[in-house]
């Protein structure tokens, strides 16, 4: 176990870094905000931490929290400015924001290290700290998927008008999603720099946006578990596919395409659906309830509970 751990340390670190980065996109998506600003926060966190440690010899904790603070402020302002955009338009605007940051980094000269990036970030940050941080983040997000808060978030995503009429502060929840995404994204960036000791402009690119979107959609966008699965799959897939050497990249594309077509709820959605089917077969419940559930075209949406409580809200 320990030898396996040390042999694959880089991949393990990469898994948790991409998990945090992907969560910074998935949290807004769960609220119905299609924003890639988390990748921008990743860049802010990574570069703030690197510059703080190399140029000013600040303590690691200060560097991480500082990057987070900058990312939160920028993302909050972004959420105010972009408030009226929805769907793909918002996605497009945030992609533009990310790529502008990338160009600024490349042209930052001495300060950001330009196209060569920054090297020699030395700190006492360890892999287990990253794992602990990721676990804390996962626990908080898992908590937000349950109970009243979880139902509120579902309502904001599925039907904002209904949510407003039920007294849910939609605008505030959307802004909160931007802030949460900034915290997660900058944390991922800081951790990546602290562990890899370098950061280059190539780390922040359109490719990263595409990879994170793939992780979320293929893993399952509805739950943290799906994102975790996606992060594991897409970090380890290249190593697994190494067996077929030259066809690796082509097989990767084929797998992504197949997953997009055949697994609409992501791998995690497939697992939960399978689990439910097995459980239903094992214990045929009271016929009245179950037969209606089976007859329906799909399982009751996440809004069913809220809508039922609100009477004929729709």
């Amino acid at each position: 176990m320990t030898s396996w751990y040390y042999a694959n340390l880089v991949l393990i670190q990469a898994t948790f870094v991409s998990l945090l980065t992907a969560l910074s996109i998935q949290v807004p998506i769960r609220v119905g905000v299609f924003s890639f600003a988390g990748i921008g926060s990743y860049a802010v966190g990574a570069y703030f931490t690197a510059i703080a440690l190399i140029r000013y010899q600040l303590p690691t904790v200060v560097a991480i929290l500082g990057g987070m603070a900058v990312a939160v402020v920028v993302s909050y302002l972004l959420s105010l400015v972009l408030a009226r955009l929805r769907g793909l338009y918002l996605g497009m605007a945030t992609i533009a924001y990310v790529l502008i940051i990338a160009v600024v980094i490349v042209n930052g000269g001495e300060f950001t290290g330009g196209p060569n990036g920054l090297y020699g970030v030395v700190s006492g940050f360890q892999t287990w700290m990253l794992i602990v941080l990721a676990a804390v983040a996962l626990a908080l997000i898992a908590y937000s998927e349950r109970g009243t808060l979880g139902r509120r978030i579902d309502a904001v995503r599925e039907d904002p008008e209904l949510a407003v009429s039920m007294g849910i502060p939609v605008v505030r929840i959307r802004r909160l999603a931007f802030v949460a995404s900034a915290v997660l994204g900058s944390l991922a960036g800081s951790c990546a720099v602290l562990l890899r000791r370098t950061v280059t402009p190539e780390d922040v690119s359109f490719h990263l946006v595409v990879l994170m979107l793939t992780i979320i959609i293929v893993g399952g966008s509805r739950s943290w578990a799906g994102v975790a699965l996606g992060a594991v799959i897409f970090t380890w897939l290249p190593t697994v596919l190494h067996v077929i050497e030259e066809w690796k990249t082509i097989a990767y594309g084929v797998l992504v395409t197949l997953a997009a077509v055949w697994v609409p709820d992501g791998v995690w959605g497939l697992i939960t659906k399978g689990y439910r089917a097995v459980r239903r077969r094992g214990r045929p419940g009271p016929s009245g309830v179950d037969s209606t559930a089976d007859a329906g075209p799909a399982e009751p949406g996440p809004l069913a509970g809220i809508a039922a409580r609100g009477g004929e809200a729709r």
Binding site: Y97, N107, I217, G253, L255, V256, T257, A260, V261, P264
Partner: protein, 295 residues
């Protein structure tokens, strides 16, 4: 003056590239992330064939259009259509389609990278004999003229088709309200395939013309153009032909101004800055209409 010629040429290629993407997004709601890859892959396939066969320019352009249309229509048939059929609501379908496009794009990119080993590729010399003219002190080659001419004629044709023909009207009605359009007897599935074929054909022609203009391209060129295409579309207004024309030439003009007046470091930022500014000021683009949508 030379700058104007360059801006017109690159604007024309942006236009041919972005036009199909814009129409597909504005009408059938498909934002195709594989568009850039189709563009590149068409040029790549023709390069592979042409280096042996020595095809002439008209043949290249026609096969480019056919190949691009075929790949694009296949993508619609095999990837986007099943996604749209299975998806419970439009928003989820949008995300699935993005990832489906990403998957297709990475297949095409991987194949061409593997074959070319990421070495720049182009058409064999002698495909076209370059003749240059001197107009007001600027060097204008026949390639420039062909590129600009094709862009203007094709976009005018698409614009006319969308606004005046029965099929184009049907297509636009899908963009306004798919369900009512279906009730009016419009075959959505067939029109969607046709639109994607049109988009692919235009990008295939654009790919051939770009390769002709630059001499050679690399497999990664597609990604860069995808982003430029977004910028042109957002600038002008999604789904409007005139808007896309305006957006493409504005983008090319802005880039050319930046290249000629500064050291050119920031030229990559201009497209994104334009997207961002436009979405802030006028989310529907310069010539875009307000979305007609009932809840």
């Amino acid at each position: 003056m030379q700058a104007v010629v360059n801006a017109l040429t690159s604007g024309s290629i942006y236009l041919l590239f972005a036009l199909g993407m814009s129409v597909a997004w504005g009408t059938i709601g498909v934002l195709n992330f594989a568009h850039g890859a189709i563009f590149m892959f068409t040029a790549f396939l023709l390069h592979t064939v042409a280096s042996g066969a020595g095809l002439s320019l008209p043949v290249l352009l026609v096969t480019g259009a056919v190949v691009g249309a075929a790949i694009s229509a296949l993508t619609q048939l095999l990837v986007f259509e099943p996604i749209q059929r299975r998806s419970p609501d439009a928003h989820r379908a949008e995300l699935q389609i993005l990832v489906g496009g990403i998957g297709v794009a990475s297949i095409l990119l991987a194949i061409s990278q593997r074959v070319t080993q990421s070495v720049p590729f182009g058409f064999p010399p002698g495909t076209i004999t370059v003749t240059s003219y001197d107009i007001l002190g600027a060097r204008v080659t026949n390639i420039h003229l062909i590129v600009v001419g094709f862009a203007l004629v094709l976009s005018a044709a698409v614009g006319w088709w969308l606004s005046s023909s029965r099929v184009g009207l049907g297509l636009r009605s899908i963009g306004v309200d798919p369900e009512v359009a279906t009730m009016m007897g419009i075959n959505r599935r067939r029109l969607a395939r046709g639109t994607m074929a049109l988009a692919g054909g235009l990008s295939g022609v654009a790919g051939v013309l770009l390769t002709l203009n630059l001499g050679s391209i690399v497999p990664e060129t597609g990604d860069a153009y995808l982003l430029k295409g977004f910028a042109a579309i957002i600038l002008g207004g999604v789904g409007t032909v005139r808007g896309t024309v305006l957006g493409a030439f504005l983008l090319a003009a802005a880039e050319t101004v930046l290249i000629t007046t500064t050291s050119g470091q920031w030229v990559d930022a201009i497209a994104f800055a334009l997207i961002f500014a436009m979405l802030l000021l006028r989310p529907n683009g310069i010539l875009g209409h307000k979305e007609v949508r009932r809840t």
